[in-house]
């Protein structure tokens, strides 16, 4: 199956490129940082460790996936490897989705590796839900990074666009809350700004509902809310894949 072969080649490239070592380094960094900071905590030292490890590993997973996807895709583009692949009797859909599947598998492997250390602080069901959610989040980032790398064709703009989308999606809920808070200005410009923010929110995924540390510290999410968060992420992955395919079919080689 050509798509599976492509996906496997992406995974092989990640393994040979040192991604497992970077993942190990991230775990060591998170554990070291948590151990250091919890030394000065007067209470909730275990909760602080868990929260810090989860936050650092979540950020590392997103950064590693975005960097891996962007670097790998751009190298393929710059080495003319893509042209070579396109000369093969494979549809562009197979090429794009096969590559995306490889990156998603890469993200899932990272999510699994990053969830395991959290078993030291949280019960297995909560860690499993957190890890599955991180896999979805990493898949979304992989789809975004692939889209921006293919579209923009340069490393810095592609990584900046991926990071911008991710950070905005993580904070859009807080931005909306600030805009519509009790002290919000009721003037016309303020209302226009608020509507603009709401419009931006419509085209962003709600990443603040995914991979929440509260699941590890307090209680697992309600099944309905959890399923809705994953479904929303899945929908956005499909949207990014569709946008990427649209751009890829438009591209002349």
């Amino acid at each position: 199956m050509p798509a599976a072969i492509l996906a496997r080649s992406v995974l092989l490239e990640a393994r040979r490129g040192g991604l497992p070592w970077l993942a190990l380094g991230s775990v060591a960094l998170a554990l070291g940082l948590a151990a250091f900071v919890s030394q000065v905590a007067l209470t909730e030292s275990l909760a602080l460790q868990a929260a810090l490890v989860a936050a650092v590993l979540r950020a590392c997973a997103v950064f590693l996936v975005a960097a891996q996807v962007t670097a790998s895709t751009l190298r393929e583009l710059q080495d003319k490897g893509l042209e070579l692949m396109l000369s093969l009797p494979l549809s562009r859909t197979t090429q794009y989705l096969g590559r995306l599947a490889g990156f998603i598998a890469c993200g899932a492997a990272l999510a699994l590796a990053f969830a395991l250390p959290l078993l030291a602080w949280a019960p297995p069901p909560a860690v499993a839900l957190w890890g599955a959610s991180l896999a979805f989040e990493a898949a979304l980032v992989a789809a975004a990074a692939l889209f921006f790398a293919m579209t923009l064709g340069q490393f810095v703009p592609a990584i900046a666009a991926t990071a911008g989308l991710y950070l905005l999606a993580r904070s859009i809920g807080a931005i909306q809350a600030i805009g519509s808070g009790a002290l919000a200005d009721a003037s016309l410009p303020a209302r226009i700004t608020q509507h603009a923010v709401d419009a931006v929110a419509l085209v962003l995924p709600r990443l603040d509902a995914l991979t929440r540390t509260a699941w590890l510290l307090y209680e697992p999410p309600a099944a309905g809310a959890y399923a809705a968060a994953l479904a929303s992420a899945l929908l956005y992955i499909l949207l990014l894949a569709a946008a990427g395919l649209f751009d890829f079919y438009r591209r002349s080689v």
Binding site: V37, L42, T43, E44, L48, L167, G173, T213, A214
Partner: protein, 220 residues
């Protein structure tokens, strides 16, 4: 490779290490506690990691040994709004900031504990129990201690709240010294499972020893 490159590398590395080694190692005296960010701003800055950000903010707050208490309470308010289920801000208010030797400042911290207790009494009762103890023994303000005790009896009604906390007023009115009362409260907290964090246990053990030493000194 030319030798000068190697020499240049060695010299710059040595200069870096020497510069760091002879730098003033003492941490700079912290400036005044800056005004607290609002809870929405703190939430925005946390990028969705509210639980980690709230606890890190508490660790940051601890680095100010002598903060302005009005600002301190604003910080505690914002941090608690970021993660309302965290006990850290109330722990710090009751066990650290309210234990100051200045009664006016202690009252500001105790007011915060009382106000926040009323928002979630069944989770935050240990801090008002300690506040009642401080009001009686440190502030020598029995009416205030009784007010806290009555609030505990009235609002902390969950099955997990121990009997001594539900009958706090009797406990407050009993003729026992601060050390005995503190021992009973900490023992009760341990028994009820409300106290299990190793850092908190260390902290409370140290506080009990300090209290013991202070009372022994006063007796002498």
């Amino acid at each position: 490779m030319p030798r000068w490159v190697l020499a240049f590398l060695g010299a710059s590395l040595a200069a870096q290490i020497a510069g760091q080694a002879f730098r003033d190692a003492g941490s700079p005296a912290p400036a005044d506690l800056p005004p607290a960010p609002g809870a929405p701003a703190l939430r925005l800055a946390s990028f969705g990691e509210a639980e980690a950000a709230a606890r890190l903010a508490m660790v940051y707050l601890q680095s100010y040994p002598n903060p302005d208490y009005r600002r301190l309470v604003e910080w505690l308010d914002s941090i608690l709004a970021l993660d309302p289920r965290s006990q850290y801000p109330l722990f710090a208010a009751a066990r650290v900031y309210a234990e100051t030797a200045e009664p006016a400042r202690a009252r500001i911290a105790l007011d915060f504990v009382e106000r926040e207790f009323l928002r979630d009494p069944n989770r935050r009762w240990p801090w008002l129990a300690h506040a009642a103890l401080l009001a009686k023994h440190r502030l020598k303000d029995l009416p205030l201690a009784r007010r806290y005790a009555q609030a505990l009896e009235r609002h902390a009604t969950a099955p997990g709240v121990p009997l001594w906390a539900k009958q706090m007023e009797i406990f407050i009115l009993e003729d026992m010294n601060e050390l005995e009362a503190a021992r009973i409260i900490i023992g009760g907290l341990l028994q009820s499972g409300a106290l299990s964090d190793p850092a908190e246990l260390r902290f409370l053990k140290q506080r009990l020893e300090e209290l013991e030493a202070r009372l022994a000194k006063e007796k002498r």
